[in-house]
Subunit: 343 residues, 4 copies
Amino acid sequence: MIKVGIVGGTGYTGVELLRFLVNHPQVQIQAVTSRAEAGTSVADIFPNLRGYVDLAFTDPAQENLHECDVVFFATPNGTAMQTTPQLLAAGVKVIDLSADFRIKDIAVWEKWYGMTHACPDLVAEAVYGLPEMNRTAIAKARLIACPGCYPTAVQLGLLPLLRADVIESTPLIADAKSGVSGAGRKAAVPVLMGEAGESFKAYNVAGHRHLPEIVQGLNQVAQQPVNFTFVPHLVPMIRGIHATLYATLKQDNVDLQQLLATHYQNEPFVDVLPARAHPETRNVRGTNMCQLAIHRPQNGSTIVILSVIDNLVKGAAGQAIQNMNIMCELPEAMGLKQVALLP
Amino acid sequence: MIKVGIVGGTGYTGVELLRFLVNHPQVQIQAVTSRAEAGTSVADIFPNLRGYVDLAFTDPAQENLHECDVVFFATPNGTAMQTTPQLLAAGVKVIDLSADFRIKDIAVWEKWYGMTHACPDLVAEAVYGLPEMNRTAIAKARLIACPGCYPTAVQLGLLPLLRADVIESTPLIADAKSGVSGAGRKAAVPVLMGEAGESFKAYNVAGHRHLPEIVQGLNQVAQQPVNFTFVPHLVPMIRGIHATLYATLKQDNVDLQQLLATHYQNEPFVDVLPARAHPETRNVRGTNMCQLAIHRPQNGSTIVILSVIDNLVKGAAGQAIQNMNIMCELPEAMGLKQVALLP
Amino acid sequence: MIKVGIVGGTGYTGVELLRFLVNHPQVQIQAVTSRAEAGTSVADIFPNLRGYVDLAFTDPAQENLHECDVVFFATPNGTAMQTTPQLLAAGVKVIDLSADFRIKDIAVWEKWYGMTHACPDLVAEAVYGLPEMNRTAIAKARLIACPGCYPTAVQLGLLPLLRADVIESTPLIADAKSGVSGAGRKAAVPVLMGEAGESFKAYNVAGHRHLPEIVQGLNQVAQQPVNFTFVPHLVPMIRGIHATLYATLKQDNVDLQQLLATHYQNEPFVDVLPARAHPETRNVRGTNMCQLAIHRPQNGSTIVILSVIDNLVKGAAGQAIQNMNIMCELPEAMGLKQVALLP
Amino acid sequence: MIKVGIVGGTGYTGVELLRFLVNHPQVQIQAVTSRAEAGTSVADIFPNLRGYVDLAFTDPAQENLHECDVVFFATPNGTAMQTTPQLLAAGVKVIDLSADFRIKDIAVWEKWYGMTHACPDLVAEAVYGLPEMNRTAIAKARLIACPGCYPTAVQLGLLPLLRADVIESTPLIADAKSGVSGAGRKAAVPVLMGEAGESFKAYNVAGHRHLPEIVQGLNQVAQQPVNFTFVPHLVPMIRGIHATLYATLKQDNVDLQQLLATHYQNEPFVDVLPARAHPETRNVRGTNMCQLAIHRPQNGSTIVILSVIDNLVKGAAGQAIQNMNIMCELPEAMGLKQVALLP
């Protein structure tokens, strides 16, 4: 059994980690920490876990996380980097769901996240936890930077096409839409139901923190700087990301459907839909799946890729557990075989 | 392995049966029928089942359901009663999710459902599939009438109190609220999102088909005719029933919390919350749980019981599988251990 | 032209007051105050008012509200009572949308609102602003305590029946459901869309602040203490209250439909629907109307009244303006003739 | 007073026409027809109109629409073209909210709408009712083809930039999102709340009927064939369209904010927001406004225009009335001064 600790368990990624881990056959949850809720029963905050979790939240300062095999950070940005060095030194594997280790260029990270990085050397070591790109490196890693939710949906759609060199690197556009749970479980006026319900808007068009993360991934595969535009939107629903991706075709005689299907044919969590399909976010709600579809409207030069994930699962907690399975030499899909709730 | 057939697989209870059964360790799905969709892949209609179900819908007239061990009817009212006699004769266990076998008084049934019953003699034999009331009879039954969704939520809240004789039999009130999936997956103007969204209403106040079913259950336990008022409402959400139940206390010195908690202490799917709790429908979304809470506001004579279920699970497909497990001598919770999706 | 000031303009009742007042032919808005947003353009916070309101929020401490004819308080409880005495002394009419002047028994108010009242003598003078009950007194008043949203929906349904003495005073039950805007526009976890969306729950069953307010009104008309149970619920929608009211019929030979229709026949903002109707909250969304329907299911002794309002309009801003019109001898419906947005 | 008839009054554009027209000071509603609901009171189908409309629906075959000054067609495609010739011959002005007269190329129309046009000669005469483009022609017209909802949102955003020749004509992308009311009020599984709620998807990526309509408008202003990609999406909300438009900048030294603001400075129903703004669909809910914002992320070559309208108002009924006002020499905004409902 793998002894697991969760730091910062009161947010939506925390409860999602718990939802999957309580039914994971090789995991034993040692501790769930929360500074604010120390002493409170986990099931009091999350009544869906009644009967599944008997633990109370503990104070991270008091908790001996060094005894865990794996520690997940489901914390705000800037927290994981404070204690990760000690955990690694103690031989603990660290899987960070926050942004602390995602961006290799420290200056870029510090600009977008507005703080000084506490352990820049570990950033170089950290493996970007997108298994479909980095499975081998993940298997050997002791520190995983889990991708952001938007970057997961966008990169899974664009990377195979860039790698196959069938699309131009400019212009690339990601028109992305997310449910409100992407903003987390902290009190904030813009995601009150009275504000976000029954309305639709773009936000952060001038620049969203996931932009440099996506650009880093696209540039690496394109082997040149791409011209990428990213517009995130808020959807009046709780879960789900739908990325609509636009690119210009480089060559005319390529079977895009075949290319994508072949690329992902052995992936447990990427499902390329048949031609002419339109994935819906609910198809993957509560699951670790990404569904993709590719279109070439009017047989023109602009192609459209549709990519859906559950932002809290493949975009966060599920992908983190997928990484854990790979790192711990368990079957990659262990504990992640959920059928989406439909309707 | 239990060979299972599902008749009428294109509705919401059909897809829910499939969601649970594909991960049930002792079940093999033999056939899923649909007259309208015969030949279509199940996963084309329900893309959440891609990778889990390889079957296509088949025409019920062509399908040899006699080879199944258990057949579920997820059909409109009036269908199951047509073929149940032949299936029983062939030794198949039948679990009907429709209303065909719920009401013992044939005249009452025929009045509320507007048709002549095809096999009234089987109604007498059918066991009402509420395990918390009828577990022993279910274990021996070959024909189960699964309770309606409202009747499940209402009876689980009221029956222990009537049985313990701590509440008056008049007046009993159930103010019940359901998500729109209770109306099924057929095209109808009142449950269009443009009609049911962002609004709340009562419906069928003059009389709902679940009224005689609930009254039958309450009368039986109260051993006298109760005075019961039932007002269903439509909630702008997809899943969930919340029943708010009102009764008059018969005696003053009773510990209601203790009574309810003790009554259900060994039940795998009824969870009595601590005093002062308010169950939310999302706590049980996608699961077979019923959460209950009991209140006595201002220490007065009117008590309030709050009961939540997922109408498609404990109110339909999950309860049907719970019945199957009992009938087939499997652990009662097998295949039903899902953690609710929160948020 | 009536010179109007609004104190506390950044909440939902504030923006609703503005939505109606900008099109009111006899009103000129002098000032909209907000301590937190002083200096910010009103239309920056509420972009629906672009082109209709050119004002910026001002600091209430700096604002000369004494020059207004009417001042509305759209503030948290405890604020209006601080400055109302000075405004009245300066000859300003005050219409308070908060709870400061609603409850005549100061001890009861202080218990439920957890503070000491700043001007108990004015509580005696204040007129409870339910025009359908108190129109004459409102016309002469200088201080109006606008009813709460739940109390408006509940009392409009029950008072005519109590007054006509056709229902028992015990037990009376109000099972009430409100959209999330009832909780206001302040950041709070329980009304995040991720928390309140796609779920339904009761809350404050042990006691809600609107309970003593309703009981005060019912007792007064019943001329005896009623036995009243109030259970509020949160609906996953933005606007609207639906109160489902239960009472026991006192006499058998009464035409309830006729009684209610006659009682309200001259009211501009109460609409008694035909027999067997089910009002929906959307029928009155954005308007000052209350729609009522009355049922006697199975011709039994329990009667059911359905009452819907828009909590922000007839339950707050609209009713406040209706009071203003009466106080200022304007046509009662002036500026309040909106057709509900459907769908 | 202008005598108005509405053909096909039971859909969402019908009830919206009524919502505005009942408060329009210069309009008298003569008839509202519906074949299916002839004889039914309008207020029975639309209870928001109780007290505002006393009419019953009438059979269009029986109704003498020739006596109207203006007839609105709020009918499915293919209906208006059947009777428009007779109405025009009788001197009636016709405003068609359907697609019958929108596309000048009859062959294109017949391909996309799958029927033979009944009066192709009138197509040439019909004026495309986008006042911001065609105000002068509208004033003289007797037949108006009201633009589709998506075409309104997309063209208002792109046309000024094409006209000013500051963007390339290729590639142009419109990633558009609509609430479910765009699908109308007819029973259909995909817009059941159980299907469309809590989910997000693209649809008709291969080709939507609004594509040729938009291309016709863009080509005309660009004076060359544009390369335009259009991807519509379904948002889990009732009202509103948000179009996110992408184009490549042609020249670097242009003040886009200024260009757009100046272009629309005298328009009553187009509101260019300040730089860096993000319009929300709720800002214009229930109103005839279009709000626009323009961005140039990272100062790159791809520009982003955000355009929001209420699909049922500026995208249908409101724009139709705006056309009527222009045709009848009334103030263009008469009867259309509504403040959006927020929240």
